[in-house]
């Protein structure tokens, strides 16, 4: 019997989901939805009678204080009669095979109540005013459901059973490659979603020709996963002939000769003082922390899945990077998360949104909710992040998720031993995310949503939390020799990587399945979430299995790492496929790529008429504070638990006025003083203007954030995340090469090694518009730089909020009229101008001077100058501290460059120019004489003071001072986006 339980809040005012429906319908101008109610529905199938189900509803599913419930057979009339006046019922339920966390949880709890063996699925029910079925279905698709993962049913549910599929019958499918020309090979790649080039498929064909046969489907799939851009970074590690502003350069391996090379040189120069532990080879980069512990960090992207299903894409992106940290060395404990989103502006007109694209506001809400629900459930504080806007992100939003971990020293080294068992632990395997690795390497199109629905994954955070508890306990007891996460490519990548030299035998029929019917290939390449693969010595297996049982985690031995150098896949004892590991990991043909970068000539600044207004500085400030990149992200930050684990020292919102932090700081170990600082830098608005300066500026911003917060500038670890358009085009690849060069140069200049990184290429969205014209949008070249700093004593950390009236304000660093790509340009006060450019030597000198002043205890507050420039930075300090300030622009060290800028344009450039590498410091009057000598050799000046009135006074070079209340600044900064908390 298939039962349904509907649970409804008795107080309509508490039904916030209904409120969201009404508001959402109004926003999307969907008619006829002036009122609504919602219910949580549960489908329960199994050996249970009505009385049983009523008891389950009363004790488990409904709250006796706030909710009522209805129990009946699915489709029965009482389940279709809603509150008065709401005669349309819409059911939204996870599509078969899509992970249903609530249903799984309920299923387990029902077993606890004495009914093992039931099957449960959750659904949402919406009660709406009378409307035609097709109108209701249209509304549901736009507002209530995402067809990539949901089924929508208007009216009674036609379901009779939840029964899953039948077992798969073993068979071997051969894929003939012999006799196919390049065009046919390319078609085969496309049809099978392999993302392999004709050249690569020819290599595969030749390999199998030498074996006297064609490949089996499972073998070809394994190769496609292993050779995917996602898994082996084939573009970045390619040989490249580059022609750039500095002349032609020939790389044999782009990444190795730029980013990796810088790290190697730095480590060599540090010699015995090298504080890197494990870089660019494990799932995350590991560095020394204190005498007992190392720390590690990884940042990943999950762009394509998030474009199609923002909530699930972002959640599983975070879940994946958490597992990267958990799967580093012998396991690290995740202690902090960061999240950065690049999206189209929230006010993008609906008419400009191409078909198949989720509008940016809804997309941002979805990714925020995904990170919130996954990160909060994991109990890992989300402490850092950013949101950047550009119309180029319309079809390809970027979702970066990062995790920091801590591990006992010595845990970074791990090695699989021949004879170790292949153990898969955690969630069960379903069809989730099949072809995720290859899908992420293909460009999106308006059909992607329907073509690649199977590539969308839904996370189940509680499984990952249990898996984490299990792995950390097993690690403490040293019960495994190596571990890695099941990410892109699923088991094929995880087992393939761990057994890359030894080889392995795997019995795929032993992989625990969510439901019957998966083929051997599907079980092998599924990207079902929340799974890890461990290499376990047979002698430790029993103990490991006990730890798993204690934590309620399923762990199954599915094979052995052999030492034969071959990957042997079996199904119920029969060979399902067999591959040579050497060919799999080394056989990919490398293609020499051509790239070219022609710098754009600088465009002279063109100032708007408004620039001449008497009150231009104050008016522009209020405008800039409300721009999406600058405005408060409080509506996001407060949905994230940023304080769990109890280690936070500098939070993302600081001071009595809850202003924005630069870097955030946490203690590494509770009760100890040493801290970890985290900062991100993103200068995406320069990507199209000057990719080198885009990358360099992002790196400077990330480091400046952590140095401002109190990190030692001589021990900064960096991460790169390259997100690019179609790098098969010479000029696009050229900008990528320029960014790699910047990474190399900046790392060396700052002695800050890159320790890990990732890339996401082909972020191009193609569609045919209403008039039949083929169109495409590419993202701007985007490098996200992440800085991991260390704070010797967290009680010495520095926050940006103004502390005390009477204190002085100093600026460190020279300002230039750097207006190109600035927020001033977004505000349409100026167009063009000098591209903000990094003076690396000056930056490093400033960081060291700042660090010495901080050590001397003479810095009361410090804020890094970034988006919106100097005046925005000072305004943020007033908002955070709830105090006013007086700022004299004539005193700011300024170099006009080639343009002999005149007031008032000069003052706007000083106030809002975005020259990297500057800070505003708050210093006690009594400490002024101690501060000054510590700035020796660095351009700096006293530029103002903290005042008791809550007013910001801006004194122009000439003319009347302009004033604006701190309350107005705060209101402007909080005004945009999200709708408050």
């Amino acid at each position: 019997m298939l039962w349904e339980v509907d649970v409804t809040l008795t107080d309509p005012a508490a039904d916030h989901a209904a409120r969201d429906v009404v508001n959402g319908a109004a926003e999307l101008e969907l008619p006829g939805c002036g009122s609504a109610r919602t219910s949580a529905g549960w489908l329960i199938e199994g050996d249970v009678c009505r009385t049983d189900v009523e008891r389950i509803a009363a004790t488990l599913l409904a709250d006796p204080v706030t909710e009522s419930f209805v129990v009946d057979e699915v489709g029965a009339a009482p389940l279709c009669s809603g509150p008065a006046g709401l005669t349309t019922v819409v059911h939204v339920l996870p599509r078969p095979g899509v992970t249903d966390p609530a249903g799984l949880t309920a299923q387990q709890a029902i077993a606890l109540l004495g009914h093992p063996g039931t099957t449960v699925r959750s659904l949402r029910k919406y009660w709406l005013p009378a409307m035609a079925a097709d109108a209701a279905a249209r509304l549901a698709r736009k507002l209530l459901a995402n067809e990539a993962i949901h089924d929508v049913v208007v009216g009674p549910l036609p379901l009779r059973s939840l029964a899953g599929g039948r077992s798969w019958e073993f068979c071997r499918e051969t894929v003939p490659l012999e006799g196919l020309d390049d065009a046919a090979l390319a078609r085969l790649s496309r049809e099978r979603c392999l993302a392999l080039s004709a050249v690569e498929l020819r290599a595969v064909r030749d390999h199998f020709r030498s074996l006297g046969r064609d490949p089996l489907e499972i073998e070809l799939e394994t190769i496609a996963q292993t050779w995917s851009e996602h898994c082996c970074h084939k573009t970045l590690s390619s040989p490249v002939d580059h022609v750039g502003p500095a002349g032609p350069v020939r790389y044999d391996n782009l990444l190795k000769e730029t980013v990796f090379a810088a790290t190697r040189k730095i480590r060599e120069s540090l010699g015995a003082r090298d504080w890197c532990v494990s870089v660019f080879r494990d799932n995350s980069g590991v560095v020394r922390f204190d005498g007992d512990n190392d720390i590690c960090i990884k940042v990943e992207t999950h762009n394509h899945p998030s474009a199609i299903e923002p909530y699930g894409g972002a959640a599983t992106g975070l879940g994946g990077v958490i597992r990267d940290v958990l799967g580093t060395g012998l396991g690290a404990k995740p202690i902090a998360n960061l999240d950065v989103f690049c999206v189209a502006p929230p006010d993008t007109p609906a008419a400009d949104v191409p078909p198949g694209v989720i509008p940016p506001r809804r997309l941002l809400q979805g990714v925020v909710a995904g990170v919130r629900d996954y990160g909060n459930r994991m109990g890992i504080p989300t402490i850092a992040g950013a949101v950047a806007h550009d119309s180029g992100y319309l079809g390809n939003p970027l979702v970066f998720c990062g995790t920091v971990g801590i591990m006992p020293r010595g845990n970074a080294e791990a090695a699989v031993q021949p004879g170790d068992l292949v153990v898969v632990a955690g969630g069960r395997t379903g069809r989730d995310g099949i072809h995720g690795a290859t899908f992420s390497s293909i460009e999106l199109s308006s059909e992607s949503e329907s073509q690649s629905g199977g590539a969308v994954q839904i996370g189940h955070a509680i499984h990952e939390k249990m898996l984490t508890d299990f792995v950390l306990e097993a690690s403490r007891q040293r019960l495994f020799n190596a571990i890695t996460d099941c990410g892109a490519g699923g088991l094929s990548s995880a087992v393939g990587e761990m057994g890359a030299t030894l080889g392995a035998e795997v019995d795929l029929d032993r992989v625990p399945l969510k439901y019957a019917g998966l083929s051997a290939t599907e079980a092998w390449i599924s990207e079902a979430q929340e799974r890890m693969v461990l290499a376990v010595a047979p002698a430790d297996w029993e103990k490991l299995a006990q730890v798993a049982a204690d934590e309620g985690v399923e762990a199954v031995a599915i094979g052995t790492f052999t030492g034969t150098g071959r990957l042997l896949l079996r199904w119920q004892g029969q060979v399902a496929g067999e591959l040579d590991c050497h060919f799999l990991h080394e056989g990919r043909p490398k293609q020499r790529l051509q790239s070219r970068h022609v710098p754009q000539p600088a465009a002279a600044a063109r100032w708007s008429k408004a620039a001449g207004d008497a009150h231009a500085l104050a008016d522009t400030l209020l405008h800039v504070l409300g721009l999406p990149d600058v405005a408060s992200k409080e509506w996001i930050i407060r949905q994230y638990d940023h304080e769990v684990q109890g280690a936070s020292v500098l939070k993302p919102l600081l001071g009595p006025g809850a202003g924005p932090a630069d870097g955030t700081v946490i203690r590494g170990v509770l009760g100890r003083g040493r801290g970890i600082a985290l900062g991100v830098g993103l200068r995406h608005r320069l990507g199209r203007l000057d990719p080198y300066q885009m990358a360099a500026g992002g790196i400077v911003e990330a480091i400046a954030n952590v140095v401002a917060a109190g990190a030692d500038p001589d021990q900064i670890a960096l991460l790169d995340n390259f997100c690019w358009g179609d790098t098969r085009r010479e000029e696009s690849l050229g900008t990528l090469v320029e960014a790699c060069r910047a990474c190399h140069d900046m790392a060396l200049a700052f002695n800050a090694p890159f320790v890990s990184g990732k890339d996401s290429l082909n972020n191009v969205f193609a569609w045919t518009d209403a008039s039949g014209v083929a169109r495409e949008i590419s993202i701007p070249p985007t490098l996200l730089a992440t800085a991991l700093g260390q704070v010797a004593d967290v009680t010495q950390a520095v926050s940006p909020d103004l502390k005390q009236a009477g204190n002085r304000l100093a600026v460190i660093g020279t300002s230039w009229p750097d207006t190109a790509g600035s927020q001033l340009e977004v505000a349409a006060v100026v167009a063009g101008g000098r591209v903000p450019s990094v003076d690396a030597a000056a930056c490093r000198a400033a960081w060291r001077a700042l660090a010495s002043a901080r050590s001397a205890g003479v810095v009361q507050g410090c804020h890094d100058v970034s988006d919106g420039g100097l005046l925005t930075a000072v305004a943020e300090m007033t908002i955070a501290g709830g105090l006013g300030a007086r700022l004299e622009l004539a005193k700011v060290p300024f170099s006009a460059g080639d343009d002999a800028a005149e007031t008032p344009v000069r003052d706007l450039a000083v106030a809002f120019g975005e020259t990297p590498g500057r800070f505003v410091c708050e210093v006690r009057d009594a400490d002024a004489d101690r501060f000054a000598p510590l700035m020796e050799g660095v351009p700096w000046a006293w530029i103002g003071a903290v005042v008791p009135e809550t007013v910001l006074t801006i004194v122009p070079t000439s003319g009347v001072p302009q004033t604006v209340g701190v309350d107005r600044l705060a209101a402007a900064w909080r005004g945009v986006a999200g709708g408050g908390v």
Partner: protein, 250 residues
């Protein structure tokens, strides 16, 4: 005399157990993190403990409602052990998810005859999870944990923290009996809780459930505006709850 022992009871999805154990240790106790599965197998583990704490988190994912399944597990497998623990004078503290669990097990604010819960914690009025600092007012009465506390600050971090009772009469009765000893300061109620209730206790004052997180303010440096305003080496106000508990059973 041995230091008092606190058992920090965790379930799948509990995620504040480490810092809560750390807070008890900072207060002079000895804390032990125990999985509910292990306690169900050997309830005697609790016998040498004087304090039992259910910390924050998303037990069993909170996919149905917060704390629901953890409470169900305690009721079905550990009911006797818990009531025995209470009856021999043990202290019980439920923080955030733990508060939600205590209400649903019938240990706190339940109908004395049927054991049915008379209060619950519903979704925040905003419909959203929220992490922020709140001002609180303690009205300790007999509540062991809140002794000596008046106005103070703590962070909250929850999606389901809106205190609701089954009737206005029940609310009045709890209020009259001094069972609602922790309130959000007037005008700062973050979630729409009835009577600004942030925490509730049993009539004896030896069981306390609260939504704010005292373990997240045991050091001054955990405050969002500590810099230049608080001594970074000082304790935070939340430590007092743990010190009070440890002292009460010493």
């Amino acid at each position: 005399m041995l230091a008092p022992r606190a058992l920090v009871l965790r379930a799948p999805g509990t995620n504040c157990d480490h810092e809560t154990a750390h807070a008890f240790e900072r207060a002079g106790g000895i804390a032990r993190r125990v999985h509910v599965r292990a306690l169900a197998e050997r309830p005697a583990i609790a016998d040498d403990c004087q304090i039992l704490c259910i910390p924050g988190g998303f037990s069993y994912g909170d996919d149905i409602a917060s704390g629901r399944i953890f409470a169900l597990e305690l009721k079905t497998r550990l009911s006797d052990a818990l009531f025995r623990f209470r009856d021999r004078g043990g202290l019980l503290l439920g923080i955030c998810n733990g508060f939600q669990v205590l209400l649903q097990t019938g240990l706190l604010l339940a109908d004395p005859a049927s054991g049915a819960p008379l209060a619950t914690l519903a979704h925040n009025r905003s419909g959203r999870f929220i992490d922020r600092w709140v001002r609180l007012r303690a009205l300790p009465g007999p509540c062991v944990f809140l002794k000596g506390l008046g106005d103070f600050e703590l962070p909250i971090a929850h999606g389901e923290g809106r205190f609701v009772t089954c009737s206005a009469a029940a609310l009045a009765a709890f209020e009259a009996a001094g069972q609602l000893p922790l309130r959000y300061a007037a005008g700062t109620n973050p979630n729409g809780a009835a009577a600004d209730v942030a925490g509730a206790s049993d009539p004896s004052g030896r069981i306390l459930g609260l939504m704010p997180h005292p373990e997240r303010f045991i050091d001054a440096t955990q405050h969002p505006a500590w810099q230049g305003r608080l001594d970074p080496h000082a304790a935070g106000s939340g430590l007092a709850l743990f010190v009070n508990a440890v002292k009460a059973v010493s």
